[in-house]
Symmetry: C2
Subunit: 364 residues, 2 copies
């Protein structure tokens, strides 16, 4: 067994796990279905009450004219960018170097849509107005990801969003929001979803991050845009005869958890602060702006894994099952706060950080 599997196994055996909502198991679906009338009709290839109602609800929530339910964000976002490129007749878009489309989608945007991305900003920081103004090439669309997941969930401030949006409108550049974790950043911005989304021409949100549903996404915009997206959805093979398992669970957990985003955010700040008090441990961002952040260790993956396993066994509290190597001397992992954090006894959590601090001192 590799160290990684050791860590993952030790994590699974802890009594309390401080991240996430819980195991991704079939109970998640069973619970969402339990109060649903079995006689309710399935959606049929994108039509029917169950999908119409949810699309209407999300369009209103996001302040957009219309919304379309997609099986995945990968599909929804490629399609959004394709539509904007087709409208302008220019197959170029701009996004961050660590954009989901650039690093997690096997180059679908390039291979299926032949769209060329222009990478904006250094990979360790978010896109600023200067990056957009300084672009040397013309693009059809700029994608902003709020928060920028791969760098710990960092955010531009609201003023920057407004200035980028204003600039793009002046220049005829469409602005698309990768809002995979949009719900999670609303408490930081102190804005409604609609107030953020009005800065964007098109918006994607996900239902299996902070919301904790099964899978699925919404793509929203004006009606001509969403109608065109339905044609592409069929082309991609995403216009399933029945999407209701995802729609029902998205709606169920949206209702359960949307109002808890501020709680997760505050807990995230609290937890990051505990990490930052430990020797050779720091978080990115140093103060989180959502329910997520990265924990960086000045210690090799191997050494830190041994420390974490020891902590799990001593305290019964699990921090993560998956530590990643930065280089031979540094390692990190991603934190997403969900329902489980509130269940961890604070006194026992203190022990975790006492042991972590001592152990990190011992290896430095």
């Amino acid at each position: 067994m590799t160290n990684k599997n050791h860590l993952s196994e030790a994590f699974k055996q802890t009594k309390h796990q401080i991240v996430g909502h819980g195991r991704r198991d079939i109970q998640t679906l069973k619970e969402a279905l339990k109060d649903i009338d079995g006689q309710q009709e399935s959606d049929m290839y994108g039509t029917g009450k169950i999908i119409d109602d949810f699309q209407t609800k999300m369009a209103r929530f996001l302040g957009k004219e219309a919304a379309v339910f997609f099986p995945s964000g990968t599909m929804a976002q490629q399609i959004a960018l394709r539509i904007w490129c087709d409208r302008k007749g220019l197959k170029k878009v701009a996004y961050h170097p660590l954009c989901h489309l650039e690093i997690h989608e096997e180059d679908g945007l390039k291979e299926l849509h032949h769209i060329e991305p222009i990478l904006l900003a250094d990979k360790n920081r978010v896109i600023q107005l200067e990056d957009v103004v300084g672009m040397k090439e013309e693009v059809s669309c700029l994608l902003l990801e709020l928060p920028q997941r791969e760098i710990g969930g960092q955010l531009p401030d609201y003023k920057t969003l407004v200035s980028i949006s204003t600039y793009c409108r002046e220049k005829g550049i469409k602005l698309h929001l990768d809002g995979a974790r949009l719900f999670e950043v609303l408490p930081y911005y102190q804005k409604t979803a609609a107030e953020i989304c009005e800065l964007f021409d098109s918006v994607y949100v996900s239902f299996y991050k902070g919301i904790g549903g099964l899978a699925g996404a919404i793509l929203a915009g004006d009606e001509s845009f969403t109608n065109e997206s339905k044609v592409w959805k069929r082309r991609h093979g995403g216009d399933l005869i029945s999407l209701y398992p995802y729609i029902i669970s998205a709606d169920y957990y949206f209702e359960q958890r949307l109002h808890k985003m501020n709680q997760y955010y505050q807990e995230s700040i609290e937890l990051a602060s505990l990490f930052n008090q430990c020797h050779s441990v720091s978080t990115i961002p140093s103060e989180p702006v959502s329910n997520m952040f990265h924990v960086h260790f000045d210690g090799s993956k191997e050494k830190v894994e041994a420390i974490l396993i020891d902590i799990y066994q001593k305290t019964g509290i699990g921090l993560t099952g998956n530590l990643r190597e930065v280089n031979k001397k540094e390692s990190y992992y991603e934190v997403s706060i969900g329902d489980r954090y509130a269940d961890v006894p604070k006194e026992e959590l203190k022990k975790v950080f006492d042991v972590l601090d001592k152990s990190m001192r011992a290896i430095s």
Copy 2:
């Protein structure tokens, strides 16, 4: 209310409906989940026991090295053809003029993959060896759909399949099976799925036609092919974090209904014969080769709809909710036999055909 809605409404209000398995409602999923342990873990982006087990089971059933679960056949088949085109370096394939990819997918094959289809055979008959031998252009892949759904579910005989397969192997043309209704034709061929599939290089099967699951498809072939298909599945946005609602229901209804395919086939022959005894009514094929066929009326859509509504009201038995116009004097609909046919009392069914015969005589 249009006549169409009248027909659909009258159909819904009948006591017995002689086609299909029943309403597509949420109970379909609830039933499939009822004996599943809630603690069972979700699949994760194409990995995990729940998806591995089903893929292995289907690979064995189809006699192929490996199988991949897809959210839809639209996605699976475009990807299969793309892989074969890339291998040969030639973006041309051959298929029937009424192929699903040609008429139901908003040209995804062309728009996303830039593959050019060569249409083989007249649209009213299936592809024969001569059509393949007579092709004037080179292609990477030939797609055969068994049965050919849009012409009532017609089939080439087994000898023809063997001869086409042999020819394609000699000429270096990959042979792909659109087996959306493959399970349904096994009783006619008196072959196992593996015996049919060994004639093909790649195979797609669906789980929401005769099987009656929620959605989802399997693409099978050799391991290098299926591994490549997983990369394209991610590009298309089909590599969902959780596909288990479809996998569980596919497996559940596969077990429930695979062994009933011969029953559906025999019932289909019986029902077609009843139609063919009516004046101005005929079926395509005249003797079905699967659980499906088309019913053709020598009568306008409007007139036949009025007759059908009258029958539903007099007998409480519903034939179809959806009649299509061929031209001003002819109309037709598609029959798929499922679980419901067996529940229709034979005596009452006789009344349906008495009325139908008389009414069709009256309008001719």
